[in-house]
Amino acid sequence: MRSILTLSLVFSTIRLATPLVWAAIGGLYSERSGVINIALEGLMLAGAFTAAATTYYTHSPWAGLGSAMLAAAFFAFLLAIVCIRFKANEVVAGTGINILFLGLPAVLSGALFLSSGSTPQLPKDELLPEVAQLSVVSLLALLLVFVTQYVLYRTPFGLRLRSVGENPEAADAAGIRVNRLRYTGVVLSGVLAGIGGAYLSIGQSSLFTRNMTAGRGFIALAALIFGKWRPIQTMLACLLFGFADALTIQMQGVAKLPSGEDVPVQFIQMIPYVVTIVVLAGFIGHSRAPGALGVPYDKES
């Protein structure tokens, strides 16, 4: 049996973790400000579709990436209005965005490409460029994590964002405009999740297909919780999920039972979930959410 622990496993892990890191760090900005963002999945789909469609028309992946950020930011802003201005339940509103993006790309691609949920395939030279087997988006993801770490713990903005998520009353008393910071957090989460989605459609693949995130938004959310809402831990959690996924890919058809038979696919594909459960239950301990997560701020109450 050939070893499965090769350099390609490392690259595969990084490629698979990239969209998770963008979405999870996006979620971090939103949730640290006190707004639950369960809409990461939908925001990623918004980014993925917009990126593929814009790149198809402009032949520039950078235009695609920019438009993905704008589109996802727009829908994150809608979510923010509903949750912050109108104090709607954040889980319900986020689910609404997710459901919207099961259908909206199908409608739009019907109007634009006479298809029902996918975009035309892009040629390779119109995709986001790669440096040494890794997309630039993957490398930027690493940068993002450290920038976030700095912003969150070393800048006034980061301090205010955290205080708004922990104790909005105290923050308000200190003169911080709670809701404005929450809007910023949620919109930032849209921008970042949009980049994660764009990576899926114009980095890793060359087209958008319906619901192509396949649950990655929720896995990112799990990584965020698992990383205790801290940037570096969250990235490590994303890498762990990426590694488990890469391992299933590398092991399939390679791993043998003692009898010489292939290990069944179903068994191998169980690995990421088992890893998640074991790690969550066994090693992480208590994960404490930001104090005011999910509680709309009302000045009068």
């Binding site: 390779k124 192509m212 594909q269």
Partner: protein, 361 residues
């Protein structure tokens, strides 16, 4: 109060464009009505569902889905409606809606709809049903239901031929297979492919991977690409996909490997529809499954009033499966490989070669 008003305006603004065109359409009742319910992949997967869509579109208008190019068959003058279910749960209501409105023929695309069709077809015995890749039995579990036609294909035979072409083309002696959802039907592609490859080169190695075990496996091109890259890393230089939209990831993977001296270093083999033009130069051939012909034929049977339930099997002899050589891949496949594949085709039809059917085991 102000907030409620503002919310109402937002909601109305969102749904107003949808309402504008939602008029009730009065269909011409004298025509035969055909309803088709697609698989989760959706009708533009460039593969399996796309083939079914071409078949019904051809029956409706005599053209391909672009509405312009002729499909070389006469239009049958039908009224066509289609549904693309977003989740498996919306298949049954869609099917029932067609039956309830008295459609003459309801077509279900994909094996997953068989158990649903069994329930619906029992409730509407006067309506004709057709299912692609599936079999629907009556309550005794043995005889096929009289109002359901099961359109079946001998995928293993077509896969055998592309397996031969792959083995003739491979320089590394290693081939890859990327399946979508791990189900017996896809195992049938894999087994035939492997047998064909081994018939050419008994020592050839065939790597096989599946995208997943749920229906999300048909819509995950990112994972399809990763699986292909992993196979290429282990030496595979021709990869056959049977994975719907996920298979398109394999096309990206071989393209990424690039060309040497004007020839691709790695090839992919398309499936169901002719995918040779998806990435010209990188697609060795496509194992086509003529779902379009089968669907057109069944519509024609209904229009002409000679619908028969039971199994309709399409194999090499009826050109229900096969491989494609066209202007996109003529220079990629050696004449020698084509000659051997043609020879095997005749032998399979005459019964001299028996290809294992993984579903019959």
């Amino acid at each position: 109060m102000k907030q409620t008003a503002a919310l109402t305006i937002i909601v109305l603004a969102l749904i107003a464009p949808a309402c504008r065109r939602a008029r009730y359409v009065e269909d011409d009742t004298s025509k035969v009505h055909v309803g088709i319910v697609f698989d989760i992949g959706g009708k533009d997967d460039r593969s399996f569902n796309a083939a079914a869509w071409r078949g019904v579109k051809c029956a409706e208008s005599g053209t391909l889905p672009d509405g312009k190019t002729s499909c070389d068959k006469p239009a049958l003058g039908i009224v066509l409606r289609d549904v693309e279910p977003g989740t498996p749960n919306s298949i049954e209501p869609a099917m029932r809606a067609f039956a309830e409105r008295g459609y003459d023929l309801v077509i279900g695309v994909g094996f997953a709809q068989a158990p649903i069709m069994q329930v619906v077809a029992r409730d509407y015995p006067d309506i004709h049903f057709a299912i692609i890749d599936g079999v629907v039995f009556a309550d005794d579990g043995k005889t096929p239901m009289p109002n359901v036609a099961g359109l079946l294909f001998k995928e293993h035979e077509g896969s055998y031929l592309v397996g031969m072409i792959a083995a003739k083309t491979s320089r590394t002696g290693t081939l890859g297979f990327v399946g979508g959802m791990d189900i017996p039907l896809i195992r049938r592609f894999e087994k035939g492919y492997e047998e064909g490859a081994k018939a050419v080169n008994p020592r050839i190695q065939v790597l096989q991977n599946y995208v997943g075990v749920t229906d999300a496996a048909w819509n995950n091109p990112g994972k399809g690409k990763e699986l292909s890259l992993a196979q290429m890393d282990r030496g595979a230089d021709v990869i056959f996909t049977a994975a719907g939209n996920s298979g398109l990831g394999a096309f990206d993977a071989v393209e990424q490997a690039g060309m040497q001296n004007g020839r691709a270093t790695h090839f992919v083999i398309g499936v169901d529809s002719n995918q040779n033009m998806v990435k010209p130069g990188f697609v060795l051939t496509s194992m086509v499954k003529r779902v379009d012909n089968a669907v057109y034929d069944i519509v024609k049977e209904v229009v002409e009033g000679r619908f028969k339930g039971g199994f309709h099997v399409y194999g090499l002899e009826s050109e229900g499966v096969g491989y494609v050589i066209d202007q996109y891949n003529r220079d990629l496949v050696s004449p020698d490989a084509i000659r051997e594949a043609e020879d095997a085709r005749k032998k399979i039809i005459s019964g001299q070669i028996k290809v294992t059917d993984a579903m019959a085991q």
